[in-house]
């Protein structure tokens, strides 16, 4: 339950942003759709939803929201990306160096890494929701990416068949699957806790 007055923003240019809003609102949080710089100014954290990463990258750049998000992130605003959101947060996109992203986490991701839609799947996977013990969460993977390389200070939270599917760097969280499409809100609660504490934990200095 949200005991602060903070608002979680959900980037609403494209993708399944409504699903994320529903989960956070179910947890008692105030949410706001973010489409402009003014919207961004009114939120304390930002979720980048699932969607198409090429579309999101272009739309962000067209209105200059990419630099605004980067600036807020460097001032300490917590970020949470799922699927396309993970790609948007990655510093490097395998085989697609020209594709725009926010480059806010020291990871390399591979897009559509499990294959096309016929290969999309769901499964139970272990997830480190705080501490060293693992919890089982349900992962819905849709044309999903995974992380092929992590830099210093990146904590691996979940593996599926030895592929990295959830990472955290300071107060930035990136997940290859879609907890927002299940009835399980524990991953969102995990991020909400990061927002609540407001503290910048771990190695979260701005990337070079």
């Amino acid at each position: 339950m949200n005991t602060t007055q903070k608002t979680i923003g959900v980037l609403a240019l494209q993708g399944d942003f409504e699903a994320h809003k529903r989960v956070f609102e179910g947890l008692g949080w105030k949410t706001e759709e973010v489409r402009t710089k003014r919207d961004l100014d009114s939120v304390d954290a930002l979720v980048i939803p699932g969607g198409e990463s090429t579309t999101l990258g272009k739309l962000l750049a067209r209105i200059g929201l990419d630099t605004e998000i980067t600036q807020r992130a460097n001032e300490g605003m917590p970020l949470f990306g799922t699927c396309a959101g993970m790609i948007m947060l990655a510093k490097r996109i395998q085989d697609r160096p020209e594709q725009p992203s926010l480059q806010l986490m020291d990871i390399t991701v591979a897009r559509n890494a499990f294959g096309r839609q016929v290969e999309s799947f769901e499964t139970d996977i272990p997830f480190r929701l705080g501490g060293d013990s693992e919890t089982i969460v349900h992962g819905v993977f849709i044309r999903a990416p995974y992380v092929v390389e992590t830099g210093k200070g990146v904590e691996i939270l979940s593996l599926f068949h030895d592929k990295i599917v959830a990472v955290r760097q300071g107060n930035r969280l990136a997940i290859a699957f879609h907890p927002e499409l299940t009835n399980d809100s524990r991953v969102h609660a995990y991020f909400a806790k990061m927002v609540e504490s407001g503290s910048i934990t771990g190695d979260c200095s701005p990337l070079p």
Binding site: R35, T36, G51, T55, F121, E122, T123, I125, I142, F160
Partner: protein, 298 residues
């Protein structure tokens, strides 16, 4: 670490892909070059076709599934999802599209129907399907058959948004009506709409379709796209509207922006400025009954 087996092609992964396309523009393309232009403009997916609907109208004859050669070329160049159309009821065309690995099949009234009684049983496929509708009953019958996404039909290839508006308004009005009814009235409502009772119950409970609800058929400008979004569409399909305009790159770019910022008139004014000519258009009232694609589907 213990690991559970992965379950592929579940209802949740099918509807999930439709969820990911929300707020986006799905563009008809007839060549790999057009697919590249669409992706560069920010399309969330492309529909691989041999002919756009306006050319299907002009040329007449039986319109069928696209040559797999072209679909493969478009899949090879695209990093975004690729859709393709099969004829209504032509489950073998659907099987072929599935074997190619397309990401979504559109069982579409734009092609000539192969079956005038039955649609494809979409539950038996591993890939998701989108189907057209003109009203709530048609939408729920298609969802009952396994469609993971619905699009209102509009009248494809006309460049005239009037039918898209009619179908979206009808659908949204009927959803609101079902939502406001007493539960003991819903069986008769299901009978009137010729819709599965369990799906009528779900609409009553949630006030929305059980799957994402997109708009298609006649969208030709950024303002048209934003109109459909404000009427309740969650994303739009643009067929002839882009590559039959005078400047496809600009139209594609502008319509993508318009859907992302569909509630902001100042942005929409900017996206509508100096675009050039929209596609050649048709008066829907002057179409022969045989030429009305929206009437196909049962």
């Amino acid at each position: 670490m213990s690991e559970s087996p992965a379950e592929k092609s579940t209802w949740r992964t099918k509807v999930g892909l439709a969820e990911m396309l929300k707020g986006g523009v799905i563009m008809d393309v007839v060549t790999a070059e057009q697919a590249a232009i669409a992706e560069e403009a920010g399309a969330v997916a492309v529909m691989a076709l041999e002919r756009v609907p306006s050319d299907i109208r002009k040329q007449g004859g039986v319109a069928r599934m696209t040559d797999p050669k072209l679909i493969k070329e478009i899949m090879a160049i695209s990093s975004i999802p690729v859709m393709a159309k099969c004829r209504i009821g032509h489950f073998v065309e659907a099987q072929i599209l599935e074997s190619l690995g397309v990401d979504f099949v559109d069982e579409s009234e734009v092609l000539t129907p192969a079956d005038e009684e039955n649609h494809v049983n979409k539950h038996t496929f591993n890939i998701p399907f989108v189907c057209g509708c003109r009203d709530l009953g048609e939408a729920l019958r298609r969802i009952g058959e396994g469609a993971a996404m619905i699009r209102t039909k509009g009248e494809a290839g006309t460049g005239n948004v009037v039918e898209a508006v009619r179908h979206m308004r009808t659908l949204m009005r009927e959803i609101r009506r079902i939502q406001s009814m007493r539960e003991d009235e819903l069986m008769v409502a299901a009978k009137e709409h010729r819709a599965p009772y369990n799906l009528i119950l779900e609409v009553h409970r949630t006030g929305r379709l059980p799957v994402p609800n997109f708009s298609a058929g006649g969208i030709a400008t950024p303002a048209d796209a934003a109109l459909m979004m404000q009427l309740g569409a969650e994303a739009v399909f643009v067929g002839s509207g882009i590559f039959k305009s005078s400047d496809p790159k600009r139209f594609a770019h502008a319509i993508v922006n318009a859907v992302a910022h569909y509630k902001d008139p100042a942005c929409l004014a900017e996206y509508s400025t100096g675009l050039g000519d929209a596609m050649a258009s048709l008066d829907v009232r002057k179409l022969d009954d045989n030429d009305r694609m929206a009437d196909r589907g049962w």
